[in-house]
């Protein structure tokens, strides 16, 4: 067995294990951490395929940004297992259909390569080949319109996020020194005259 094959099976085993734990673990934070492990293994497999740009971006975007925000939310949850399990049976048919669809898709992809339709050797790039430049060139020449579309969709997402959290003009309670200096004593203190009453 070639060393590369060994590394692949090593990473793939971790990936499969971590992905299984993501769906089976009860604690959402642990599940999220296993998802992080799964991303790391996937990026290792991509590095094995010499797609170092994609591998690093996977870690940067999914591990470094998406999962951090995910953890932020998950950590603040009050984990109530009974409440989580309530909807299990009602969601099961929908989940089953989605699972079947995904299995069918994967089966189709595998079947194509077994039928030998798309069987072609990918030539090995030499060590000086820059993934980053190749990806950049492809994105900004051939796929420039899809890229622009994607960025517009992202922009809509950003605007929507801001709009959701915007709560109108801030009713600030902070002090303004400019107004503060004009305060007179009588604005703040009311001196009550209480005539002493004779003792009964």
């Amino acid at each position: 067995m070639e060393f590369k094959t060994f590394v692949f099976y090593f990473l793939a085993t971790i990936l499969v294990y971590a992905s299984l734990r993501v769906v089976t673990l009860r604690n959402p934070v642990h599940a999220a951490l296993h998802l992080v492990l799964a991303f790391f293994s996937a990026s290792g497999i991509w590095i094995l395929l010499q797609a170092e740009f994609l591998a690093i971006v996977l870690v940067l975007v999914y591990v470094g940004a998406v999962m951090v925000l995910f953890l932020f939310v998950v950590m603040m949850l009050d984990i109530n297992l009974d409440r989580l399990r309530e909807g299990f049976w009602s969601y099961l048919p929908l989940g089953g259909i989605v699972a079947l669809l995904m299995v069918a898709e994967m089966g189709l992809v595998l079947a194509v390569s077994y039928m030998g339709n798309s069987e072609h050797e990918v030539e090995q790039a030499d060590a000086t080949f820059s993934n980053v430049q190749a990806v950049g060139r492809a994105i900004f020449t051939d796929y420039v319109y899809p890229l622009e579309l994607a960025s517009v969709i992202l922009l809509v997402g950003i605007v929507a996020a801001v709009a959701l959290t915007l709560r109108g003009k801030r009713k600030s309670k902070s002090v303004s020194p400019g107004q503060q200096v004009f305060v007179k004593v009588r604005d703040r203190i009311r001196v009550l005259k209480m005539p002493s009453e004779p003792r009964e």
Binding site: V29, V36, A65, V68, M75
Partner: protein
């Protein structure tokens, strides 16, 4: 590996080296070259990490001395001559202390969190070039790799806060994580501008690109480095790395006397690893800053040769800058920190991104 060793070792050892190589060749057969490469890589990693850990230990000492002098004190001076053994004494003390795991804490995650904090600061060194040839892994996307690695360290803080099962640690963790995420955006945007002008993601190429230009031809290399042409980005980056490493005046994670941070529940070596992570991150960030803005190993003037010592000198200067501002500025208020990050630095970076883009497209482009 063999060539490097032959250059490094004294003459009388070389026959023994050759003999050892021959022996291994006979014993392992065709596996031997792979084995040599694997062992050599491990040796290189161990060398880099041990030097780094030594630097971290003595950086704590240097910090205490420097801040002591700035505040007209003496600083540590009891253990060893001039207090030189102080960091080792501190390390021993922390190792001998008990690691207390709070009741109800998530034990595995509690012990995993310091690892998450420290490991990225070590892993990033894999792609740092020390001179044109001395680099563990010359990856094409090395700047991206460093961004990816440094973005992982936020997990350590969040997990430490969550797993401690204490609301104060949790709030502290959330506070620090929010700060780190905010400043990461500005830092990333500053690096994007550097990537644009150097036309590369490779740190070695970025350094080499700074050695060209009108000033470099006149023998004034230090004026052609990125810090001058990208001055706003340099300032933003320098402030961002202070915030990213949770150092004063942005030390919301751990204000010794005022704020309870994410690691209140940690003690002994587990706590020490967080401190190691902080100092390791400071060294890493100052190295990256000297590579991408201060010309790395390039010599500042034409008549002196380029050498790895320039890189060390620049790193030390930036580390001194860290100490200096710690002794100078009072701590920021938290809402001021967030405002500085989101409302000042990110807009400045975005505007400068457009300015540099237009500059590069104009006939005045200086980065050809």
């Amino acid at each position: 590996m063999v060539e490097t060793l032959q250059q490094l070792l004294p003459g009388f050892l070389i026959p023994y080296l050759n003999m050892g190589m021959q022996l291994g060749q006979n014993f392992f057969g065709s596996l031997w070259p792979d084995l040599v490469i694997a062992v050599w890589t491990v040796v290189k990693v161990v060398i880099v990490i041990s030097i780094l850990l030594f630097c971290v230990a003595y950086m704590t000492f240097a910090e205490r001395k420097v801040i002591g002098w700035m505040q007209v004190r003496i600083g540590p001076n009891r253990v060893g001559p001039w207090g030189l053994i102080q960091p080792i004494a501190d390390g021993l003390k922390l190792m001998l202390k008990e690691v207390i795991i709070p009741y109800g804490a998530d034990q595995k995650v509690f012990l995993l969190a310091p690892v998450f904090a420290f490991a990225p600061a070590l892993a990033a060194w894999a792609v740092i070039p020390f001179n044109p040839t001395l680099v563990l892994a010359n990856v094409n996307a090395s700047l991206l790799y460093i961004l990816a690695m440094t973005s992982i360290s936020v997990y350590g803080i969040m997990l430490a806060g969550w797993s401690s099962n204490s609301k104060y640690a949790f709030l502290g963790g959330m506070r620090s994580a929010a700060q780190l995420i905010s400043y990461e955006v500005a830092m990333g945007l500053a690096l994007v501008v550097v990537m644009m002008v150097s036309n590369s993601l490779n740190l070695g190429t970025i350094v080499e690109g700074q050695g060209q230009g009108r000033f470099a031809d006149m023998g004034l290399g230090f004026l052609s480095w990125n810090w001058l042409s990208l001055l706003p980005m340099f300032v933003v980056y320098m402030v961002c790395i202070v915030a990213e490493t949770n150092r004063a005046p942005f030390d919301m994670a751990e204000g010794e006397s005022e704020i309870v941070g994410f690691h209140v529940e940690y003690s002994g070596m587990a706590f020490a690893v967080f401190q190691l992570a902080e100092y390791g991150a400071v060294i890493l960030c100052s190295t990256i800053a000297s590579l991408i803005f201060l010309g790395g190993w390039l010599s500042p003037v034409g008549f002196l040769p380029d050498s790895i010592f320039w890189l060390f000198a620049k790193m030390s200067a930036i580390i001194f800058f860290f100490f200096w501002i710690r002794a100078t500025f009072p701590r920021f208020r938290y809402d001021q920190i967030m405002r500085l990050g989101w409302k000042v630095f990110i807009p400045v970076c975005l505007i400068w991104l457009v300015v540099v883009g237009c500059w590069m497209m104009s006939p005045l482009n200086i980065w050809k």
